[in-house]
Symmetry: C2
Subunit: 663 residues, 2 copies
C-alpha cells in the first residue's frame, strides 16, 4: 500500500539519458533547464522544487519550479563548475495556493467567504507550526488575523493576496504530502570549448617552409599566427609518433613504399618508441612542449592530439606485451583485417586478451602522458573499433584527473554506434555532415541531431573536409562550394573544423575519379604549402570565425530553426539566443554552378520579430543593411561571388529620434 | 573497471514504460515483439537472446533475437496466460559467426584459408568444451575435422556452412562475453476483450416497456437479444445504487427536484444503502445476478458496472465514517465544489484523511463485492479526481484476486492525466475522439495514440456519444453524421461504444443551444424508448459489428495507416493484420451535408499489394466488388445514403483457373 498522502506524481523528467545510465551534457555557466510532468488528481494546485548539487558536494540547492504548460513544469540551475551534477524534482499538493485560487473564484461569484477565511487561517497556522523563528511568528500572526472575527473581510482578503504569504507557506510545505522523483539524473558539465570551438587540422611534417624538408615542431611556430589569424581556437595534429616500417604505405597509398617514403602517421610505433614518443624528424618532446606553451600563451590556441590505439609491427608494445595482440593458431600475431581487406602495417589490440586490465591501464596512461605535456583535447581515431565499455571507463578516469579534458570521437559509422560513443562521454563527435549536400538531407539530419534525445548527449562537430574525405561536392563545386560548405559547417554547428591548408587553398583533385581520397594525400607524404596565395579563402574564414565570436546565437547548435525558401537549391535557417537578444539568419545557395533566387517564408515568431513590425537585416559579410517587413522576401545569391548571406536581425527598439533604431 | 570481455552493449529496449515503473500492455495469445539496440565495437558479429517468463514462474524461457535493421534487434514471445510477464535481453560477440562470415569473404577473394580453418576448429572446440552429452561429442568431432590436415578443404568449408554447426555453437556461447540488459521490463497481459470490445450503454431504469413505469433488471432481460443482435459484447450500466435525496437534481438538471423526480444515479447512497446495494426500484441483488447470468450464458454479453466513488449526503458511509470526508472549520461536511460551482448533492471522499488506509480498503471491497456478483468489467467514473497512487494500488490488488477484471477510465481531462491513469493500469480509456470531427485533428489524434510511447499503455475506447456528450456534429449532422461517426469509432479503434438507444435512434436535440447535454437526459429522468423504429440504425450497427468480428485487422488499433485522399472532407485509412492476411480499407465522407468525391493516393506497401498488381476492393456494407490497380482511385460518397466504404482488400493469389482469384 502506497502512502495515501502522496498524491502528486512526477514522470517524464528531462534531461535524463537512458534512465540515468548516462549523463546529459551541458556547458558551464549556461542554465540547465529541467522539465517534468507533474500532476495530481482533481483540481488542487501543486508546488514543485528543483533540487540540485555538484556530485562532489553534500548540500542540495533548491529552487522553485513553475508550470510552463498544462501539467508540464520547468526549473533551472546554472552550474558554475566543471564536472558531474545531479538533480531531482519534488512536488506536493499546495493547499494554501488552492485555497487562495478558490477564494478568488468565490469572491468573483459574490459568494459568502466567511468560513473560507477561517479555513485559510488554519492552513497558514499549519505552515507556521513547521516554520521557525521570525517566520514562524509572522505566519502565526497572519493566521490569527484570518481567523479573527473582528478583522474586516477586506483586510483579510488583502492579506490572502500578499505574495509574502504565498512565498512563506510554500517554503514550509506539509512534508507528508511531498513526493520525490525516484532518481537523481546526472548532468556532465564541460568547459565552454566543448560547445563552441573552431578546429584547424594540419600535418606538422608539412610545416617546413623549404620544399623537400620534413617539417618540425619548430616550423609550426610560424603557423600559429596564421591559424590564430583565421580565428580558430583548436589546432589538431594527426599522430606525431614514430612510424612503422613493415608494410609501410608509399605515396598515394601504394603498397610498396620507396626508401624515402615517410609512411602514414597512423602506423604508430618504431624502434624510436610508441604512443608516448615523438617522431624524431618532428623534433623532441621539449620542442613539442614549447609549441604547446607558445600556442596557448601567445595565441590562445589549444593543441589537440590524435589518439589512435593501434600499433605498427615495430611498436615496443609488440615485443614487450605480445599478449595484448591477437594470435593465429601458429602463434604469430594477426595484422588488422576486414576481409578480404588486409592491413599488414597495423596490429590491432586484442581487447578480449587475458590481461585486458593491464591493457586498459596502459592506454589510459597514454592520455595522462600527453596531459602532462599540456594537451587537454584529444581527437580519438576510430573509437568504434574498441569496446564501448573501455571508453566509458577511460573517459571517466581521465575526468577524475582533470575534468577539462575534451574528447572528439572520430567514428564515421552507423548512427546507433555513434550515439553510443557520445552517451559514453565523448565530448564531441564527427558527423555525416560531409555527405549531406542537399537541402532536404541536411535539414533532416539537423533535425535528427537537434530535435531527438541525441540533443542531450551528442555534440556534433561539422567538418566539410578531412584528410580522409574530399567530398564530391568540393571536387566539382569550385570556390562557391568551398565557401558554402564552410559557412554551413560554421553556422549550423557551433563546433566545426577544417583540414587545412587543403581547405582554404581549395585542393579539389581526388586520387582517382570516384574516390574521396586526396591526390598526393598528406597521409602518405610530406607536402609543401604556399599559404599566402591570393585566391586563398583565409580572409573569408577569418571573417566567419569573427562573426561566430561576435554572435552568441552561433555558439549553440540546438537553437536552429529552418525557414521555408521557395527554391530547393537554397537553404534558410536562423539561430537565436535564449534571451532573444541575438538572432542570426543564414541563407545559402547550395548550387555551386548557378545563381539562384527565391522567396523566403520566415517563421517570424522564431525570429523574435512581432507581426507587422519592420526589421533590419544586416549582412555581416558584406556590411549592407536592408529594411524587411514580414516573412516574404526575395533573395538572390551567386556562386561566383559569395553565395551566402549571414544576416544579423536588428529589431526596432526605440521610437524616439535615436541614432540606432534597430538592435 | 568494467569487465573487459563484455563488449556488446544493449539499450533502447522496447516495450518498456518509464524505466519499468509501469508495465506495457498486451493481449493473451498475441506475440509480444521485443526490440533492442544491440551493438559492438568493430566488425564482429553478435548473437542475442530474448529471455522471458511469467512473473509467477521461476524458469526463464529463451528464444533467439534477430537483427531486423542495422544494430536493431527483434525477438518475440507469445504469452499464453493472463497476468504479469517479464523479459530481458542478452547478447554476446559470436566469434564463430564472425569467423564464418570472414571465411566466405576470403574464399570469395581467392585468399588462402588454411590457418583460418584451424582457427575455426578451435572455436568449435571451445563451444564443445561448454556443451554436454551428444552435442559435446558432435562439436568435438567437427572441431577435429576442421583442424585435420588430412581432410580436404572443400569438405571443411561445407562443414563451416552447415546450419547445425551455427545453431550448436550459438547454443553454447562463451558466457564470459555475455551481456544482459540491466532491467527486466514488465508486460501486463490482458484477456482478449481488453483489446477488442464493443460497448453498449443504457439506463436500466428506462428499460420498462410501459411509459411512466420505472424500469427493472427484469425488464432488461428483453433488451439482451436486442443488444446482442446488434453485435455488442459489453453492456454497461450507469450506477445502479440507491440515490440520495438531499439537493437532488430535477429533470434537465434543474436545481429543485419535484417529488417524483428520480434523481441522478451518480448521487450514490440513501437510507436503502450505498455502493454495495441496488436501487429498490430496479429490483433485488438476486434480480441483478439473474440478469448477469442470463446475459453471459445466453447472449455472450458481459455486464459492466459504473463505479463512481462519491456519496450523497444520505450514504451510509457519511454517518458511519464521517472521518472519510472533508470538513469545514465548523465541523460540517463539505460538499463537492469547483468554485464557483457547488455540487451540494455530492460529498467527495477526503483521500488525505487520517484513516486513508481504511478508506482504500473499503473502496477495494466495492469492486470485490460486484465481482462476487459476476461483474468483471468496471467503468470508473472520474478517476482523475481520486489519487493516482490509489488506482495503481487498487487495480493491482484486484488483479491479484482475478486478472480477468477490466477497468475503463472515464477521464475527460488533460492528456498527461489521462496517460498517467492508463500507465497505472486502467485497461481502457475514454478519449478525445468525440471532439475530433475533422480530418486533420482526427488523423493527428490517431497518430498521438498509435505512434507515441502511449501505444504501449493507453488503449483507447472511442465513443461517438455518452449521456454527458451529444456533440455538435451529431446535433447538426443528421443521419449521415450518426453513420460516419459510428464507422469512424468502430474501425479506427478496436474498442468502441455507444450510448443507446439515443444513438441508434439518432437523438440529436440538446438541452439548449450550445450545450452538449441531451434534452430530457436520462441522467435526471426515466425515458421510454420505442426500439424498433423503422429509421433505426440498429441493422447497420449489427452489420458493422459483424464486419469487425470477421476481419481481424479491425481488432487492433495501432495497426492503422492513413492514406492521402484529395478532399479535406474525406478520410481514408487501412488496417492490416501482422501476417498480412487481412487488410481493410475505410473511406469516410465526413461532410454530413454534401456528396464529396476525391482521388486516393494509397500507400500500396502498407496495403500489402505488390506494385503493378491488380487487386479487388470488396465493399463489405454494399457487397459490391471493384477491380483497382495502383494507388490512384476516385471515390464518391453521399451523406444521404451511406457515406462510408469499408473495403476488404483482396489480393490476387492464384494464376490458374480457380474460382476465387482474390483472397
Amino acid at each position: 500500500m502506497e502512502n495515501g498522502y502522496k498524491r502528486a506524481v512526477i514522470d517524464s523528467v528531462e534531461p535524463e539519458v537512458h534512465q540515468n545510465e548516462f549523463a546529459a551534457k551541458r556547458i558551464v555557466g549556461q542554465p540547465v533547464k529541467v522539465y517534468a510532468d507533474i500532476i495530481c488528481d482533481g483540481h488542487d494546485l501543486l508546488s514543485a522544487r528543483l533540487k540540485w548539487r555538484r556530485c562532489s558536494e553534500e548540500k542540495w540547492n533548491e529552487t522553485p519550479m513553475r508550470e510552463v504548460a498544462a501539467d508540464h513544469w520547468q526549473g533551472a540551475f546554472v552550474p558554475d563548475a566543471i564536472g558531474f551534477y545531479e538533480y531531482t524534482v519534488s512536488a506536493w499538493v499546495d493547499h494554501f495556493k488552492t485555497w487562495r485560487l478558490d477564494l478568488d473564484k468565490k469572491i468573483g461569484a459574490g459568494q459568502n467567504i466567511e468560513t473560507d477565511l477561517i479555513a485559510g487561517g488554519i492552513l497558514v497556522e499549519q505552515a507556521g507550526s513547521r516554520a521557525k523563528g521570525l517566520e514562524k511568528k509572522m505566519l502565526y500572526e497572519w493566521a490569527q488575523k484570518l481567523k479573527d472575527p473582528k478583522v474586516v473581510e477586506d483586510e483579510k482578503v488583502a492579506l490572502a493576496h500578499d505574495d509574502l504569504v504565498i512565498l512563506l507557506t510554500e517554503r514550509y510545505p506539509d512534508t507528508r504530502l511531498m513526493v520525490e522523483y525516484p532518481r537523481a539524473p546526472h548532468v556532465w558539465v564541460d568547459r565552454e570549448r566543448a560547445g563552441f570551438s573552431a578546429w584547424y587540422e594540419f600535418f606538422p611534417r608539412s610545416a617546413s617552409p623549404e620544399p623537400g624538408r620534413h617539417g618540425t615542431f619548430k616550423d609550426c611556430h610560424a603557423w600559429l599566427p596564421y591559424v590564430a589569424g583565421m580565428g580558430f581556437d583548436v589546432v589538431y595534429f594527426p599522430p606525431i609518433h614514430p612510424i612503422g616500417r613493415t608494410a609501410r604505405k608509399g605515396k598515394n597509398n601504394t603498397l610498396k613504399a620507396k626508401p624515402d617514403d615517410v609512411g602514414s602517421p597512423w602506423a604508430i610505433g618504431g624502434p624510436e618508441g610508441g604512443h608516448k614518443s615523438v617522431h624524431p624528424d618532428l623534433g623532441t618532446l621539449q620542442d613539442f612542449d614549447n609549441l604547446v606553451a607558445q600556442a596557448r600563451d601567445k595565441y590562445d590556441l589549444e593543441i589537440a592530439l590524435d589518439i589512435a590505439f593501434q600499433c605498427s609491427p615495430e611498436h615496443p608494445y609488440v615485443s614487450e606485451h605480445p599478449e595484448w595482440f591477437m594470435h593465429r593458431p601458429d602463434g604469430t600475431i594477426k595484422h588488422a583485417e576486414n576481409p578480404p581487406k588486409k592491413y599488414e602495417d597495423i596490429y590491432p589490440f586484442d581487447f578480449e586478451c587475458q590481461n585486458w586490465q593491464e591493457l586498459w591501464e596502459e592506454l589510459k596512461s597514454v592520455f595522462l602522458f600527453w596531459m602532462e605535456h599540456g594537451v587537454r583535447i584529444f581527437r580519438v581515431d576510430n573509437p568504434h573499433t574498441k569496446p564501448f565499455p573501455f571508453w566509458e571507463w577511460v573517459i571517466h578516469e581521465i575526468h577524475k584527473h582533470d575534468p577539462n579534458v575534451l574528447f572528439l570521437a572520430e567514428a564515421f559509422t552507423r548512427p546507433r554506434m555513434m550515439n553510443r560513443l557520445a552517451k559514453g562521454c565523448f565530448s564531441q563527435s564527427y558527423t555525416y555532415f560531409t555527405w549531406r549536400n542537399d537541402k532536404q538531407s541536411l535539414t533532416q539530419y539537423m533535425q535528427t541531431l537537434t530535435d531527438s534525445p541525441a540533443k542531450d548527449f551528442f555534440r556534433p562537430n561539422f567538418w566539410p573536409n578531412t584528410p580522409d574525405i574530399l567530398n564530391e561536392s568540393l571536387q566539382k563545386g569550385g570556390r562557391g562550394a568551398f565557401i558554402s560548405r564552410l559557412v554551413l559547417a560554421a553556422t549550423l554547428s557551433s563546433n566545426y573544423g577544417i583540414y587545412g591548408p587543403a581547405y582554404e587553398l581549395m585542393e579539389a583533385v581526388p586520387r582517382e575519379p570516384g574516390s574521396e581520397e586526396y591526390l598526393d594525400s598528406e597521409k602518405y607524404q610530406v607536402r609543401n604549402w604556399k599559404l599566402r596565395r591570393e585566391d586563398s579563402l583565409c580572409d573569408l574564414i577569418a571573417r566567419i570565425n569573427e562573426i561566430r565570436r561576435e554572435n552568441p546565437a552561433l555558439q549553440s547548435t540546438n537553437n536552429v530553426t529552418f525557414h521555408h525558401i521557395e527554391n530547393d537549391s537554397m537553404i534558410c535557417y536562423s539561430k537565436t539566443t535564449p534571451d532573444g537578444q541575438n538572432t542570426v539568419l543564414i541563407i545559402v545557395n547550395m548550387d555551386p554552378h548557378h545563381e539562384q533566387g527565391g522567396w523566403t517564408a520566415l517563421d517570424m515568431k522564431a525570429m523574435g520579430v512581432p507581426t507587422g513590425q519592420e526589421y533590419q537585416v544586416h549582412d555581416l559579410l558584406r556590411g549592407e543593411r536592408y529594411a524587411w517587413e514580414g516573412p516574404y522576401n526575395y533573395v538572390k545569391l551567386s556562386p561566383h561571388t559569395v553565395p551566402v548571406h549571414i544576416f544579423r536581425i536588428r529589431r526596432r527598439v526605440r521610437t524616439e529620434q535615436d541614432f540606432e533604431y534597430f538592435l
